[in-house]
């Protein structure tokens, strides 16, 4: 059972109060996108065994979206942060580096 803290309303709750909404930091391209880019946006997933960034929604709470940094191999939560950002904050990346030296996820490390 995951315990998540919603950065929007500050509530810490069990996973039954939240719903996962897929990978974080996807690039949403415009009408000029190629078929391959659109395919990758829809289907090509990172699906890592280890450090992962994903979108969650506080469904049974404030209803707002946020991001979670999590390890899929141990279910450890590295931190949650606002969805209004294009990349994971430095503070969370540093925290992951301490626990998982040499990690990388897409272009982030």
């Amino acid at each position: 059972m995951l315990q998540l803290e919603c950065p929007n309303c500050g509530v810490t709750a069990e996973e039954t109060e939240f719903a996962q909404g897929g990978e974080a930091h996807l690039t949403r391209r415009g009408p000029e996108a190629s078929e391959q880019e659109f395919h990758d946006y829809l289907f090509a997933k990172e699906n890592p065994r280890g450090v992962h960034f994903e979108r969650w929604r506080h469904v049974n709470g404030c209803g707002k979206w946020f991001h979670v940094a999590r390890c899929t191999a141990t279910l450890e939560i590295f931190g949650t942060y606002s969805a209004q950002t294009l990349e994971p904050p430095r503070e969370i990346r540093d925290r992951i580096s301490k626990k998982r030296p040499g990690w990388s996820w897409r272009e982030f490390a």
Partner: protein
């Protein structure tokens, strides 16, 4: 290979069981094989078996990271059925179910295939319409199913409460030739049959890299040395994404944990398999008497082989409503398996961007029942480059938008 038979048991009984031989050999890997299959689970071994049986290709190695029967093969709920809506799914699952009927004789290993019948309950008007449609589709596909009314459901499964206040049973999709089988016997039987044909079953051998030359696969690196091959089949379920990364392409797959549990053994009380999709649970009784219960998948990526407790709670709560007789049962064991879910919940049996490298994955929550059919089709694809069974399950269908929209899988919502 010495055949297993009633006479063999009598013979061995007279000489204190000293004459049994190992079911399959454990050779050191050779430098080169015609075909290397990564993954010694059901689908990998089935592929190797049909490469030998249907095409006479026996210079084959099956590489397994752990041991035979130690992965998802031993983690499913052993249900075999083929009542799917879409034609490509019905074709491959019905092929598989048909193969199960004589497979024990073919590989001389008792799979305990028990065509006891599977019913999928309709507990809302929406499901009544959906399953009626599936029954019509199955009639056209040559799959023997029918939509039955609530009284027939009660006759077939007397312990069920069909008058539940919230979700009364309005009928069911009934497949009389579906049922259960012994899951680890399938891999043991295939491994024994493959070994008998001269193939190498190599356990404790993890693949660490995939080599290519001029866009074609040339071999693999493993923890037991480099192995060269002409053709490579990747059949590793939950870890497909990592192998695909080694081969240089990406997959439309996400890995999640799916759970199951069994109760303490009780006297026989239920001789059919019942699936209840609206209330999210399914149940059958094993030959040992345990009630085998399948639950839902977690909603997030997970590689830990254990799921969230609230899913068990939801499943058990629903089943207690449907089968009031089980509400005092103690649960003995609970486990999780990592399932590889694709975008349309249908599997991938396909060529890959790397030449002569093929992939069989994405079975999600519904792989066990398809094992022989999947091996049959995938072996044909690897040899001929085309198989009517696998043609619709190509990797390119995601780019081309030709989805096979099916809640393949446990029949439980994902």
């Amino acid at each position: 290979m010495k055949r297993y038979s009633a006479f063999a048991i009598a013979r061995e009984a007279l000489r204190h069981h000293t004459g049994w031989e190992r079911a399959w050999t454990s050779p050191e890997p050779r430098q080169r094989y015609d075909v290397v299959i990564i993954g010694g689970g059901g689908h990998g071994l089935a592929t190797a078996y049909y490469l030998g049986k249907n095409f006479g290709i026996t210079n084959v190695a099956v590489l397994e990271k752990g041991w035979i029967g130690g992965g998802n093969t031993g983690r499913n709920t052993t249900i075999i059925r083929s009542n799917y809506l879409q034609d490509p799914s019905a074709a491959i699952y019905e092929k598989s179910r048909g193969l199960f009927e004589t497979l024990s004789q073919d590989i001389n290993f008792n799979l305990m295939f028990s065509p006891r019948g599977v019913m999928m309950l309709a507990q809302t008007q929406h499901e009544v319409r959906g399953y009626t449609r599936t029954a019509h589709a199955n009639a056209l596909q040559g799959v023997d199913t029918e939509f039955i009314g609530p009284q027939r459901v009660k006759e077939l499964c007397p312990i069920m409460n069909i008058e539940g206040p919230r979700y009364p049973v309005l009928g069911a999709l009934w497949q009389p030739r579906a049922g259960t089988g012994r899951h680890d016997a399938l891999v043991w039987g295939f491994a024994r049959a493959c070994s008998d044909m001269g193939m190498d079953i190599i356990q404790n051998c993890e693949v660490t890299g995939i080599h290519s030359e001029d866009g074609e696969v040339s071999g693999v690196s493993t923890t037991r040395g480099d192995i060269a091959c002409d053709k490579l089949g990747i059949v590793v379920a939950g870890h497909s994404g990592r192998l695909a990364e080694m081969a240089g392409f990406r997959l439309p797959i996400e890995s999640v944990a799916l759970q199951a549990l069994v109760s303490e053994p009780i006297k026989p009380c239920m001789d059919v398999v019942v699936m209840a999709n609206t209330v999210h649970g399914y149940m059958s009784q094993s030959d040992k008497g345990e009630m085998v219960i399948g639950g839902g998948a977690d909603g997030f990526n997970n590689y830990t082989q254990r799921g969230s407790f609230h899913h068990i709670e939801e499943t058990v709560r629903a089943l207690c409503e449907t089968f009031p007789v089980i509400n005092r049962l103690k649960m003995l064991r609970q486990w999780g398996g990592i399932v590889d879910m694709t975008g349309d919940r249908s599997p991938i049996l396909s060529k890959t961007p790397l030449g002569n490298c093929f992939i069989n994955c994405g079975w999600g929550t519904g792989g066990w029942k398809a094992t022989p059919g999947s091996g049959w089709g995938f072996a044909e694809l690897m040899v001929r480059g085309y198989s009517p069974l696998t043609a619709a399950f190509g990797l390119e269908r995601f780019r081309e938008g030709r989805f096979i929209d099916e809640s393949v899988a446990a029949g439980v919502a994902h």
